[in-house]
Point group: D3
Chain length 293, copies 6
C-alpha cells in the first residue's frame, strides 16, 4: 500500500515561470530515464522478487521515494507553466520576439491539452511507456540496469542544470543530483554485495551451466570493423572480469557457416518461389484443390 503526504521532499518552486524550460524538464519526469521509469522499475522489481529481506526492502524503500520525485517535478512544471502564453501566434511573431520564441519552444500540449499542467511525456511529447522499465527477476542484471538508469538520469539533470539560471529550479536539481549520486553508489554497492554473498555472479545468469555454451568463443574479441586500436584494450588480452578465462583478440570471425538455402513454405503463403513460371502451376494445384471444396 502507498500513503501520500501533502508535503514535498524538497522545495520545488521556481523563481519565475518559464514555459520553454518546463518542456525541457519533462524529460526527467516522463522520459526513458525519467523519474516515472525508476519509480515503476523498482516497484515492479519488488513485486516480482524471489529473494526476501534486504534486497526487496531496498527496491521498495527507494521506489517509493522516486514516486515523490515524480511529484516534485510535476509540481515544478505546473508552476513553470503558470504564465504560459495562450495568445495569438501572429501577434507574437511580429510584435514580440520573446513571446514568439516561447511559443516556438514550449510543449504546445501543455496549453492545449493540460491547461498549463504537467504531463506524463518526455521533452519531445512522446508518452511514457511501460517498455522503458527493466525487471528480469535476476538481481545482478537488474541492479546493473538500475545503476545505468541513475547514471543516465544524473547526466540529464546535470545538462538541465545549465539550461536555466532560475535559482529555485537549480535548488531542486541540486537535490535530485545528490539523490542520483546516492542511488548510483547504492546500486553499485548492492550489486557487489549480491555477488559476495554468492547469489549471483558474472556471466549472468550464473546458474546456467557454461558447459552449454560454445566455449571456444566465450572470451574472444572478434573485430568486425577495421579499426585496430581495440586490440590495445583490457578486453583484448589478460584475465576476464568473471575470473574464468583469458581474453584473446581476433580480426574478424573465428567461425563461419554457409547461409542456408531459401525456405519454401506452403504455396498458399503466396510468396515468390524459386520455380520459374510458378504462377500457372501453383495456381493449378491450388485451383484443383479449391474446385473440389
Amino acid at each position: 500500500m502507498f500513503f501520500h503526504r501533502q508535503e514535498l521532499q524538497f522545495k520545488a518552486t521556481p523563481d519565475q515561470p518559464d514555459a520553454v524550460y518546463a518542456r525541457k524538464l519533462q524529460e526527467v519526469l516522463g522520459g526513458q530515464y525519467g523519474e516515472i521509469t525508476v519509480a515503476m522499475q523498482y516497484m515492479f522489481q519488488g513485486w516480482n522478487m524471489h529473494l526476501p529481506g534486504k534486497y526487496r526492502d531496498l527496491v521498495f524503500g527507494i521506489g517509493a521515494e522516486e514516486f515523490g520525485h515524480v511529484e516534485m517535478l510535476a509540481t515544478m512544471i505546473a508552476q513553470l507553466l503558470e504564465k504560459a502564453p495562450l495568445g495569438v501566434t501572429e501577434d507574437a511573431v511580429q510584435d514580440d520576439p520573446t513571446v514568439a520564441a516561447v511559443v516556438g519552444g514550449m510543449d504546445i500540449q501543455h496549453a492545449i491539452v493540460a491547461g498549463a499542467g504537467a504531463r506524463p511525456v518526455d521533452s519531445q511529447g512522446n508518452p511514457w511507456q511501460g517498455s522503458y522499465i527493466t525487471g528480469s527477476g535476476n538481481l545482478l542484471a537488474d541492479f546493473t540496469a538500475n545503476a545505468n538508469a541513475e547514471m543516465q538520469g544524473r547526466i540529464q539533470v546535470a545538462r538541465l542544470y545549465h539550461m536555466t539560471d532560475d535559482s529555485g529550479v537549480r535548488d531542486l536539481l541540486s537535490f535530485l543530483l545528490a539523490r542520483d549520486t546516492m542511488h548510483q553508489n547504492m546500486w553499485a554497492a548492492a550489486a557487489k554485495e549480491l555477488q559476495e554473498e554468492g547469489y549471483e555472479q558474472m556471466p549472468t545468469p550464473s546458474n546456467f551451466p557454461q558447459s552449454n555454451e560454445y566455449r571456444e568463443v566465450s572470451y574472444q574479441y572478434l573485430n568486425f570493423s577495421d579499426g585496430e586500436a581495440a586490440s590495445k584494450g583490457s578486453w583484448a588480452s589478460g584475465p576476464t572480469p568473471d575470473g574464468k578465462g583469458e581474453f584473446s583478440y581476433h580480426d574478424g570471425p573465428t567461425t563461419t557457416a554457409p547461409m542456408p538455402p531459401p525456405t519454401r513454405p506452403d504455396a498458399r503463403m503466396y510468396g515468390t518461389s524459386d520455380v520459374p513460371n510458378p504462377v500457372e502451376k501453383a495456381a493449378g494445384t491450388v485451383q484443383d484443390k479449391l474446385n473440389k471444396e
Copy 2:
C-alpha cells in the same frame, strides 16, 4: 560503410520447423534487449563518440558483429516457419490438438503479413523501436547500459534454451550465450579501464562539480517503505563505492517542504479556478475583451 558477406558467423539451421518457437525467438531478435537493440546501440554510440581510438574501435567492432547476429536469428526464424500452418482453424481445433496448439501459440502475423518470414518485432508482436537504445555520449554510463543489455540478453537466451530440444536451435543459442559471456566481460573491462585512465568516474557525470549538488543527502539511504532489512545492506553504512563519502541510514525523508499553493494560469486555459462561481465573472471578463475585438 558496411559490407555484407553471404555467410553466417555460426550454423543457424533447426532440426525441424517449429512455428510456436519461432515466435518466442523473436524476443531476442526484435525485443527490448534483442540483437537489433545492441547492434543499433553500439553503432550510434560510435557515430556520436567524442573520444577516438580504442573505445570507438570497440563499439564499431562489436556493433557490426551484432548485425550479423540479427541475421542469424532472422535466418533461423524463417526456417522454423517453413511449415507454418495456413490451414483452417476450425478443422485444426477439432481434428488435431497439435495443430490447434500451434495455431494458438504462433505469431499469426508471421503467416498473414510476412508469408512465413521473420519480422522486426518481439515475441508479443510489438515492433522494435528506437527508444530501446541508449547513447548519452558519456561512456561510463553507456558501457553500464551495454553491460546491462548483454546481461538481460543472456538471461533471455538461457530461458529460450530450455524451451526447445531442437539441437540445431540449441547450437545457435549456445553460440549466442558464449558471445554474451564475452560481451558482458568486455563491457565490464572497458568500464574499469575508462575509470583507471581517468576519463570518467562515479558519480557520473564526474565533471559536474559536486559542489553544485545538495551534499547533505548525497550518501543518505532514505527508507520510504516500512521494511527494515535494508538497513543491513552495504548501502546503509560504510564507505561509498565512489570513495567520496560514507553511507548513512534514515527512516523516511531527512528534508521536507510544504507543497506550493495551486497555480492560477490565464483564465482562458479554462481550467477550474479557486474562485466560487467563477463562471459568470470570468466569462464576463473574457466576453468584454472579446466583444472589443
Copy 3:
C-alpha cells in the same frame, strides 16, 4: 456504407496562412480527443452494438458527421500551410525573426513529409492511434466516455480559439464549439434515457450481481493522503448516486492483508532465488539434468 460529398459542413478557409497555428490545430484533428477519435469511436460503438434502434442510429448518425469534421480540419490545415516556409534556417534566424519563429514553431513534418499537407497526428507529431477510442459494448459506460470526449474536445477548441485572431479560423472553431455543445448535451440526454428505460444503471455493469462484490467497502471513502478536506464532500456522507447505499469516510484502509511471501518459480527462469549460494546447487541440478539429455 459511406458516401462522400465534395462540400463541407461549414466554411473552412483562413484569412491567411499560418504554419505555426496549423501545427496547433492538429491537436483537435489527430490528438487523443481530436475528431478522428470521436468519428472512429462512435462508428465502432455502432458496429459492435447489441441494441438496435434509436441508440444505434444515434452513434451512426453522429459518427458520420464527425468524419466530416475531420475533413474540415484537414482542409483548413492544408490552407494554413499554403505559405509554409521551406527556406534556409540560418538565413531566417539571422535575417528575419518572424520567419525564424515560424520555423521553430511549426510541425516540420508538415513540410518534409507531407509537402504542406495535414497529417493524422497531434500537435506534437504523435501519430493518432487506435488505443485512443473506447467501446466496451456497455452503453452507459460508453456514453459517459463519449460525453467526456466531447468535453475535452470543446475545452481544447476553446483554448485554440484564443491562439489566433484569424476570423476564418475562428468561424470554423465557433462552429465546432457549437457542435460540441450539442454533443455534450446529447450524450448526457442519451445516458439519462438509457437508465430511465432500464437498459443500464449505476454501478456499471448493473447486471453483475453486487452480491459478488465485497460489499463492506462498496460505499466507503478511504483516504490515502493526509488532506482532510475530502471529508466535507458529498462523497463522504449521505446517500450514494446509485441509490443503493450511504457514503462513509475513513482515514486510510479499513482492511489489510499481509504481503504474500516471494514466489519461487522454476530455477531455469534464472531469477535470483532466496537460497544463499544457489549458483552451484541450481547449476548442478540443471547441469545433471542437461547432461543426461
Copy 4:
C-alpha cells in the same frame, strides 16, 4: 511524498497458479483502463489542480489508493505465474494438450522477459503509455473522464470474474469491484457538487462565452446516417440538459459550404501541381535560382 507499507489492502493470493489467467489479469493492471491509468490520472490531476481543498484532497486521497491496487494485481500475477512452464513446446504439444494450451494462451514475455513476473503491459502485451491518462485542468470534464474510467474498469473486472473459478482470485476481484462501485459513485457525486457550487457547468468549459459559438447549430441533432429512430430520442426534441436550449432534429446538415480550391504551396515542396507539364517549367525556375547560388 509517498510512503510504502509492506502490506496489501486486501488478500491477493490465488488458490493455485494459472499462467493463462495471469495474462488476462494484465489488462486491469496495465491496460487502457487498468489501475496504472487511474493511479497516474488522479495524481496528475492533483499536481495540476488550480482549486485547493476538498477536490484536490479527493484526487490525492484516491490516487494513492490506486497505486496500492496496482501492487495487489502485480503481486497476484506474480503468484499466478509461479508454475509458469518453461518447457519444450514440441513435447507439450504432443504429450499434453493441457500444457500446450497453457503455452499457447500465456503471455510468453512473462517467462522470457520477466522470469515469471508481472509487467506494465495489457493482456495483449502492449506497454502502458502516458497517453492513456486524461487531465485537462477542467474538473467537470476530468471527473467525467474519471467516472468513465471506473465504469470501464468495473466492466472489465466483471468479465474477468467469470474467466476463473479460483476463489482467491475471485476474492480479490470482488474487492476491486466494490471499490469501483464506490469510485463510480464518488465521481458522480463530485461532478454534481462541482456544478452545484458553481465552479463549472455544461457545456464545458462554461466560462467560454457561448456568444462566440455558432449558436444556430448548438442544439440541433443532425442525422448523417439513414436510420430514423434517433428522431425518437430525448436528444431530438425537448429541453437540453444544460438548461439553455431546445433540441431539434434535422435529417442531414443544416449548413454547407463549397470545398475550397486546392492549395498551391512553394514549388520546392515538390508536390504535384495543377499546371500541365510543370516539370520543365518549375525545374527551370528553381534551376535558375539555384544556378545563381
Copy 5:
C-alpha cells in the same frame, strides 16, 4: 462531408462464429495494410491535393468506398465473436481441448475490453496508428504507395482465405479480393496517366533539377554484398527505366571519404572527451564559471 447508409456493400455474415478467426481478420481491418490505412490514406491525399479534377475525384471516390470496407470487416468480426467464450480457463484446458485452443488463439481483448466487438487493432493487438499512412503531395510517389498498399492487402486477404472454410467469410473475402484487383489496376493506370500527361515522372520528384544531384553515381549498381548474381539483372546494364541513363555494375563503392574526426561539443554536455583526465580540468572550468554566478 460523409453520409452513412445502414446497408453494406456486400453480405458480411459468417456461417457460424469463430473467435480465433476473428482475431486473424483484425489484420486486414486495423493492420499496417488494413482497410483503415487505405481509407485514411486516400482521404488525406485528397484533402492535401494540389491538382483538382479527376485525380482528386479518384482518391475521394475510392477513399469513401474503403470506409465501407472497414464497416464490413468490423461487422463480420462482431458476428464471428458472437459465441466468444468467457468461461473458466482451467476448465477449458482440462475438459475441452477445443475450447482451450480457442482461448489460446483468440484476441483476449475482444472479450475483456470490447465485450465481443471489433477493435481498431491488428491481429496481434497493436493499435492502428497514423504513421501507417503515406501522403507526400507528390502523386506519382503516392500512387505507387497506393498500389503497394493494395498489393500487400490482397496478399493478406488471399492468405486469410485459406484459414477458414466458412462460406460466409469466404464470400466476403472473395469480394474484397476482387476490389483489390480493381484497385491495383486502378493505381497502375493512374500512375501511368499521370506521367503521360506530364505531371510527374521518374525519378520522383522530377522537378528537382538532376543537375543538383551527384550524377556520377545516379545509375551505378554498387554491390555491398558478395553475391555476384545481381550483375545479371536488368538493373546492372542497359537503359534505365527513366530513359535518362545507362545502368552500370560495380563491386563495392566507387567513392569513399575518410570518417571525420570525433566531435567536441560543449563540455557541459558531460560526454566523455578525448582529453586524458578531463575530469578535474573541465570541472575546474565549469566550477569557476559557476562559482561566479
Copy 6:
C-alpha cells in the same frame, strides 16, 4: 555477416554546425521513409526470400549500402550538433533572438539525452519503429514497396536540400539524391524483370486463382464521392493494366446487402442488450448460476 569499414561512402561534413537543421535531417535518418527503414526493409526481405540468385543478391547488395547511408547521416548530424547550445533559455530569449530561435527549433533531446549526438528518431522525435518496414515474401508487392520508399525518400531529401545553404550538407544530399535516383530505377527494372520472367504478375498474388474472387466487381470503378471527373480517367474505361479485363465506371455501389442484426453475445460480457429492463432478469440468471457455485 556484416563488416564495418571506418570510411564513409561520401564526404559528410558540414561547413558549420546548425542544430536546427540537425533536427530536420533526422527525418531521413529515422523517419518512416528514412535510411534505417530501407536498410532494414531490404535485409529482412533478403533473409525471408524464397527465390535464390539475382533478386536475393540485389536486396542484400543494396541493403548493406543503406546501412552506410544511416552512418553518413548520423555522422553528419553529430557534426551539425557540435555547437548545440546548452545555455540558459531566458537569457537567449531576451538577449539573442538567434539563439532563441535555435533553442525553439532544435530537437531538445539531442542535447538532454544524447549529449549532442544523432538518435534513431524522426524530425519530431518519434522513435523509429519496426512497423515502418514491409516484407511480404511476394517480390512484386515488395519491390513496389521499395520503389515507393525510394520515391518518398528522394522527395524528402529534395525538400531538405532547400532548407540549408551549407555546401557540405548539400554535397551529401546531392549524393543521396543520386543514389535514390538509381534505386528508384533499380526497383522499377527489377519489378519489370520479375514479371517478364513469369515469377509474378498483377493482380498480386497472381497464383491465387481469380476464380475465387467475386469477378463481377474486379474491374469496376465505383464512385463513392460526388465528383464526376474520375469517369474521364484511364481507370474508368478501356483495358486494364493486368491485361485481363475492361474497366467500367459506376456511380455508387453495384451491390448491396442489408446490415445484419445486432449480435447477442454471452450476457456475462455485460454489454447493453436489446431486452428492455434486462438488468434484473440477466442479473437473476447469472446470480442463480453464481449462487450455486
